[in-house]
């Protein structure tokens, strides 16, 4: 592990052969070809298929490194320390670790994010949408030599309501008219709106919206958006289809409510990756991911998942000191 904050960032010119730029952050080097992404660090190298890498990198950028660890696969990933980010290879893989092949470097989060934004833009070809599930008609293909861009897809802004979606001046509801048609798998979801009768003077406080309709119109997968806020308690519902592109390693307890359909979660030990359990969540099910695991979800049909977060920045330290629990509730 290198404790010093890395300051070396470099974007190399496009390859004559593939047309893609290559990237350097600290001593990590990233290149891609028609099918694969290569990651090289001083003590090793790693190869991933371009589709899985791009879906994971897209979430890394869109979520701003999110809470805790984002493992792209058993070898490579990032850990968010909120302002500072670890980038690692093999750190959470017992065999890499035992054989001294692991490597970790620290970066200023905003600087690394800037490099990753450029990478996502350059490595996303025209028509390919890394936010889409591969079965969607407009998902496109990540393969091949450099061929245009898809800036509209990769620069989507993650919705973060200040109080609740639909309130005056807050995040807008989604409609056909503002460019959000229902997804093909949610065509049977009712678009009826709640009855709201506000007395004069209370129009800004007497409010409701159709959350299920809102989610049925999401044009992204595995991208939790803040829809309602009680201080640091965030309801972050999302629409899921295919595979969560990362194994998410929790640095706090994280709750799920399955609003529709079904997701299977594979849960592993955060440090070793050893299996701990398998959870099937169906409509109405509630479960909490402890703070010492990593999890990855599989959604065979597009489903609605309510992700509930406590966004307090103090929680990782509170867990380390024992002030906050690793298991949310003991009974």
């Amino acid at each position: 592990m290198t404790e010093a904050l890395q300051t070396h960032y470099k974007i190399n010119p496009a390859s004559n052969e593939t047309g893609y730029k290559s990237y350097e952050a600290g001593s990590f080097k990233f290149t891609r070809d028609e099918y694969f992404v290569s990651i090289v660090w001083p003590k090793g190298a790693h190869t991933m298929a371009a589709d899985g890498f791009m879906r994971a990198m897209m979430r890394t950028v869109a979520w701003g490194f999110f809470y805790g660890t984002l493992s792209y696969d058993p070898v490579f990933g990032t850990t968010n320390h909120y302002g500072i980010v670890d980038m690692f290879a093999g750190t959470y893989h017992p065999v890499f670790k035992e054989n001294g092949r692991d490597h970790l470097e620290k970066f200023k989060a905003e600087d690394l994010l800037e490099l990753f934004r450029d990478l996502v833009d350059d490595w996303t070809n025209e028509g390919y949408d890394p936010f889409a599930a591969p079965g969607e008609d407009d998902a496109g293909q990540p393969w091949g030599r450099k061929n245009g861009n898809n800036a509209d897809a990769v620069t989507r802004i993650r919705v973060t309501a200040n109080r609740m979606v639909g309130l005056p001046g807050d995040a807008e509801i989604r409609t056909d008219a503002n460019g959000f048609p229902q997804n093909r798998m949610f065509a049977d979801v009712s678009s009826d709106q709640p009855l709201v009768e506000a007395e004069p003077g209370f129009e800004d406080e007497v409010a409701a919206f159709n959350l299920y309709d809102y989610l049925s119109r999401s044009d992204v997968t595995w991208n939790p958006s803040v829809c309602s806020v009680v201080k640091e308690s965030l309801f972050c519902p999302t629409s899921e289809e295919f595979i969560l592109p990362v194994e998410h390693g929790n640095d706090r307890c994280e709750w799920f409510v399955q609003l529709s359909d079904e997701i299977t979660w594979e849960v592993k030990d955060k440090d070793t990756g050893n299996p701990r359990c398998r959870i099937v969540m169906r409509a109405g099910d509630v479960a909490c991911m402890p703070a010492d695991i990593r999890h990855q979800g599989y959604s065979p049909k597009r489903s609605m998942l309510l992700v509930w977060e406590n966004a307090s920045p103090r929680i990782p330290d509170m867990i380390q000191s024992g002030e906050a629990p690793v298991i949310a509730v003991q009974f």
Binding site: A187, V206, C277, G284, K301
Partner: protein
Amino acid sequence: MSEYKTVFGGLNDFTPGGVDAIDDNPKNYVFSNVFDVASRSAPYERVAVGKNLEYVMEVLRAEGQSPWYACAHDEFALCMDGEVEIHLVKPEDADGLVDPDSEGAVVLDEAPDGRKMGRIVLRRGHQALLPGGAAYRFEAGAPSVILTQTIQGPATVERWAEICQSESRPAA
């Protein structure tokens, strides 16, 4: 090929999954089902199904008329089954009714004096703001289910051992 069917579940129509523990205690996942909880609750018990330090999610079986509640901070109500009417009032003496520094919903002994703010009718999937400083009451003609986003308060009921999965249960 058939059209896609979205499954939402309901008070009389739910099939929970479960935790299949490989090398873990299934209790660690605090697994429950909102419809199962509501099916075993008295009307308007505010049963916690999620807890993250001071914050909670509560399940309410909405049936008939609820007591009046007041809360110093915003809360939210998501209708997960049925139809629920919400009446909102701005109390004349909101701070006297509920300590402005307090957390969680408080049950009021009687309807508060104050201005009517309005009325909301939620059906499945609809979410409403229960604004901080307001008083509110739920009403449901038939058993319905509400999930709240709030902070643990005097009205919150905890009975985790009764509602949560304790043994490993491989889901089919």
